[in-house]
């Protein structure tokens, strides 16, 4: 390992904020040199990771995810925990740019010495997860954060991906039993270990209570994603910071139940396998796009498909054949 990386490693292990931030940037970098450095760093970090409780948080826009993390995070810090938050904001598909305002909704938490909050642009990855969120979790763990939140935008395809990198998956809901389960896909509900009805305050409280019981009924019809845990439906007011104790107890019960049954470790192992495949897919695609023979015909293929001259399936087959044959020549040359 080069010297720069080894000081970075030391500093991360001491919990140095700047070192953590720089390391995350290395991991997220599309520059191959930086990326290699990041990978090397990750290898050396691995022995120091795995100790945090990883919590995924999702919900429709406006449900109050950031406000919830602000309240819950501060509650956990009072209990002497160290809290990291990885928030993902959508990059515009048109401009590539993004606006990240998460910290404005986590004002107090973002100033606390025992918190670390890093918003990342989704950079074109489907749904609400950044390309390197999984690896970023490890950096926070190595730096001594024992609770890591992964916050994602909206509700869509991203949830399965988040579920594959956290221990507990929490879904926030609005109090409106009338349009029950609006916009939430059944698959997302099935992934949730905890469903929390937020904004249970003021005039909305009665509605939140009835929403809670509606969801309880609805969840009985769905199958649970865990063998040793039945999803719980809870209520809170992130704004008034009410309900945090109950949620934390549920989280601890969840952890106990899964650890006792052995499902906890099993889940982490299967997540590692999924991570491996995700990396393989990413690597393959990167190599594919970098391949000189492929690069040459990509514009032509794209043009023929969009003009309707060629069927997408035919174009894809041609590209893959080209890839296979160029691989062969590479091997034979060796």
């Amino acid at each position: 390992m080069n010297q720069k990386n080894s000081t970075l490693l030391e500093k991360i292990l001491q919990g140095d904020r700047r070192a953590m931030a720089k390391a995350i940037t290395l991991l997220e970098s599309t520059n191959s040199e930086s990326f290699e450095k990041g990978q090397e760093l990750l290898d050396s970090l691995l022995p120091h990771t795995g100790k945090a409780l990883r919590i995924g948080i999702t919900g429709v826009p406006g449900v109050g995810k950031s406000t919830f993390i602000e309240a819950f995070g501060l509650f956990l810090i009072k209990l002497k925990h160290r809290v990291a938050v990885l928030a993902v904001d959508p990059s515009s598909p048109v401009t590539g740019g993004s606006i990240m305002g998460d910290k404005t909704r986590m004002n107090e938490l973002s100033q606390h010495p025992n918190s670390f909050i890093r918003p990342s642009p989704s950079s074109g990855v489907l749904g609400g997860v950044a390309r390197k969120t999984r690896e970023t979790v490890l950096i926070c763990e190595a730096a001594g954060y024992d609770i890591v939140f992964v916050e994602t935008v909206g509700v869509g395809q991203s949830e399965t991906l988040v579920d594959s990198m956290v221990d507990l998956f929490m879904l926030l809901m609005l109090p409106n039993a009338g349009d029950e389960l609006q916009g939430i896909k059944k698959g997302v509900l099935e992934l949730a270990d905890l469903i929390v009805v937020n904004k249970s305050d003021g005039l909305q409280e009665p509605l939140a209570i009835s929403t809670q019981s509606e969801y309880r009924k609805a969840m009985q019809l769905l199958s649970s994603s865990k063998k040793s845990w039945d999803p719980q439906i809870l209520r809170c007011s992130a704004l008034e910071k009410v309900g945090m104790q109950i949620i934390w107890e549920a989280v601890k019960n969840f952890q106990d139940a899964l650890q006792n049954s052995g499902e906890w470790a099993q889940q982490r192992r299967s997540q590692s396998a999924k991570w491996m495949w995700a990396l393989v897919e990413e690597g393959l695609l990167k190599n594919f796009r970098k391949n000189e023979n492929i690069k040459k015909i990509i514009p032509e293929m794209e043009e023929s498909v969009s003009s309707g001259e060629m069927l997408p399936s035919n174009a894809a087959r041609r590209l893959l054949e080209k890839w296979a044959s160029s691989k062969k020549t590479c091997t034979s040359k060796k």
Binding site: R17, R18, T25, N31, V94, T95, G101, T104, S110, R118
Partner: protein
């Protein structure tokens, strides 16, 4: 009916006009305003037939031609210049000079620390004390401010919303100690907290307790201070933040309606308080539109108040103060601002305002000097005394165009107001974020039009002056002011009966908690016992907490309004190349430091930079330099963009650079923008600031310059 003197036909005119336009119909020359109202080139009596109102008269419902029957023929509008200079002593001197020079009423500008309810010795207001207005920590400062100014004769307007309780209380106690009774006081407290949650951001508490404060003040004033205006419902700040005339009308009238309902819900009679509600509008450069706006506002308010069955005619009669637009002023070629202000002042007067502030030409550069303040005041005196303007009431009344434009504004604003009502009124609308987002979208769209020269600003995007001479700007030694204030605070705290102070402060905390008791009455007790502004604010904060509004952002609006996509795609390509080389997109933290809540510039920059392909972090408002540095390090940004409009830049940026060095993070570049006097550029550059963008910089150019500076450092 006598026969018409002329026989004309519109068809004939259309033919002639069309041939002059090279065969195009006359409608091809229609002008779409920012309000999306189409202005034709010619209006005729036909347009009058479409009006929803007919012949009206001033002083009579629906007041479209003016609230008073004689208007300026009876009494000229009040020249009311808004001013406040760092210390109470300096401001007092300035006020008395102005009064001697022909000004009729006072209007107090407070510094940002006071607005946000902090005493000058609070650690969060290091760069804010004495900036953008006068620092008031206690009634002792207020007494100096009004020294030798008889408050029973002088109408005083105070722009205060956040710390409205301790400030109004200090004013009342000052009068008391001058021997003036509450019922003798005349003037206005702004007390329009709802708009603070949409723009400007000088609130302290969350929305619902803030509305209670406003209600307590309305109630107290209607009982004890019959000559005093309890709310000044402000469209001005909405316009400054980017609102169109339609948005300014709908949202300010909607706010007014909310205050009326608050009072009615407390069991008050409409006639007991509605006559003491006043308005405050901004007057920009769209000359005819601004005149129509004031006419439409009076019409709409009259209509809205009828719902509450008023018996007094004054209850539904809209009276307003106006201010020429600060946003329309330019840093470049600043003497042009004198002309702009004159045109805007004329519009305000032709629209029938009751009082007026005219901006000094150097306000885009810093606080006004004595000379620039004199010119601003003289602008009004010339309009009043040289040009024969006050002699005729509503001279535009009956104009085909003006009546038609007033009607369009009435219709469009009523539509938007209906949307607000559907959301459940303005408080609910504010919570939903709708008004703020609409205003920010208008601001971004307008910026795009200016950046590409579709909207002309002389000296900025057309007819740029090559060698404009520099203008002298007033400088404020913020540290000296702060030290003097702290000394005064120490003295007050030493000499007062602490037990008495504590018991009055506890009574306030208690009233906040239980919801029982009038908070203004209780604040007067505390202030009289020499509790400070910060202590009174804190007594309530203990129960309600300090609010920080969530920041919402919009995207795509800026680029969408920019037809010259070539210019934008050039920048986008440069960003792509940067990302290829560096491994990620350029990342910028857009931040404001100190208590300056004017976030129009920051929000427009954020959304436009994102539209160009930057990754943009928005920092929470009211940050200290330490907080900004921590967020920037944590997010690992390439550059921090500081937006400053309140003159605190020197102290705060110096501190920011110091903290960056301490944290070994000098690799993060710093750029700054906003109202920064050119003479400060060298100082900021010597600190290490890479680029400084004054008002009027086209955003794609700014984006490029930021990129260039990053290429050097990364």
């Amino acid at each position: 009916m006598p026969e018409s003197k002329y026989i004309f036909s519109l068809k004939e005119w259309e033919k002639k006009a069309s041939s002059e336009l090279g065969g195009n119909p006359s409608s091809s020359a229609n002008w779409k305003t920012l309000e999306d109202i189409a202005i034709k080139m010619l209006y005729t009596s036909e347009d009058l037939e479409k009006l929803s109102y007919s012949e009206t008269l001033p002083g009579l419902s629906p007041f479209i031609r003016g609230p008073h029957a004689t208007m300026y023929s009876g009494r000229k509008w009040t020249i009311r210049q808004y001013a406040g200079f760092s210390t109470a002593k300096e401001s007092n001197k300035f006020y008395r000079e102005n009064l001697a020079a022909g000004q009729k009423g006072l209007s107090v500008a407070f510094d940002l620390a006071t607005h946000r309810g902090y005493d000058s010795d609070h650690q969060r207001v290091l760069g804010d004390v004495g900036k953008a207005g006068v620092a008031i920590d206690s009634v002792e400062d207020m007494k100096i401010l009004f020294d030798q100014i008889p408050l029973d004769q002088m109408s005083v307007s105070m722009t205060m919303n956040g710390a409205v309780l301790p400030i109004l209380a200090s004013y009342i106690v000052t009068a008391e100690e001058q021997g003036v009774k509450q019922e003798q006081l005349s003037g206005t407290i702004q007390n329009d907290i709802l708009k603070e949650f949409m723009v400007r951001n000088t609130y302290i508490y969350p929305p619902s307790p803030s509305i209670r404060i406003a209600g307590d003040i309305i109630e107290y004033v209607s009982t004890y201070m019959p000559r005093y205006n309890s709310v000044s419902i402000s469209g001005y700040h909405l316009q400054e933040a980017g609102a169109t005339a339609v948005q300014e009308l709908a949202f300010s009238l909607g706010n007014g309606l909310e205050y009326v309902r608050t009072a009615i819900n407390r069991g008050m009679e409409i006639d007991s308080f509605a006559p003491r509600l006043s308005f405050f509008f901004g007057i920009g450069m769209n000359f005819f539109m601004e005149i129509a706006k004031l006419r439409a506002a009076r019409f709409l308010w009259n209509k809205l108040i009828q719902e509450f069955n008023p018996k007094k005619v004054e209850s539904s009669m809209l009276r307003t103060h106006c201010q020429t637009s600060g946003w329309s002023l330019t840093e470049q070629d600043p003497y042009n601002n004198i002309v702009r202000t004159t045109i805007e002042a004329l519009a305000a007067v032709l629209g029938g305002t009751q009082s007026l502030h005219t901006n000094a030409f150097d306000e885009a550069l810093g606080l006004p000097t004595e000379t620039s303040a004199r010119i601003a005041r003289n602008t009004q005196l010339i309009l009043q005394e040289e040009a024969g303007i006050p002699n005729v009431i509503d001279p535009f009344g009956g104009s085909y165009f003006m009546e038609s434009l007033s009607e369009s504004l009435i219709q469009e604003s009523a539509k938007l107001l209906e949307k607000v009502e559907k959301l459940g009124g303005m408080t609910k609308a504010v919570e939903s974020g709708m008004p703020k987002q609409q205003i920010e979208a208008s601001a971004a769209r307008r910026q795009a039009m200016i950046d590409q020269g579709q909207e002309v600003i002389v000296g900025i995007n057309k007819y740029k002056a090559e060698n404009a001479e520099p203008v002298e700007v007033r400088d404020i030694d913020n540290t000296a002011v702060r030290e003097a204030q702290i000394k005064m605070l120490k003295k007050i705290r030493k000499n007062r009966d602490q037990q008495k102070v504590d018991s009055f402060l506890n009574a306030l905390t208690n009233a906040a908690d239980t919801g029982v008791g009038n908070l203004l009455g209780l604040s007067i007790n505390a202030i009289r016992a020499r509790a400070t502004v910060g202590e009174v604010s804190l007594a309530l904060e203990k129960v309600w907490g300090r609010y920080n509004a969530p920041v919402q952002s919009i995207s795509g609006v800026y680029a969408g309004a920019f037809p010259d996509q070539k210019k934008i795609s050039e920048v986008r390509n440069e960003i792509k190349n940067f990302a290829k080389k560096v491994g990620r997109r350029p990342r910028i933290m857009v931040a404001k430091m100190g208590q300056d809540g004017h976030d129009r510039g920051a929000k427009v920059i954020a959304t436009a930079f994102a539209d160009m392909g930057f990754d943009v972090d928005i920092a929470p408002l009211f940050q200290t330099p330490e907080e900004v540095v921590r967020q920037s390090i944590e997010n690992d940004v390439h550059v921090i963009g500081i937006s400053s409009l309140a003159a605190g830049h020197k102290t705060l940026i110096e501190e920011l650079m110091k903290v960056l060095r301490q944290e070994n993070s000098e690799d993060i570049a710093v750029v700054a923008g906003g109202v920064i006097p050119p003479k400060d550029y060298d100082f900021l550059k010597s600190l290490g600031v890479c680029c400084i963008f004054g008002p009027g910089t086209a955003i794609p150019d700014a984006a490029r310059e930021v990129l260039m500076s990053l290429k050097v450092t990364h």
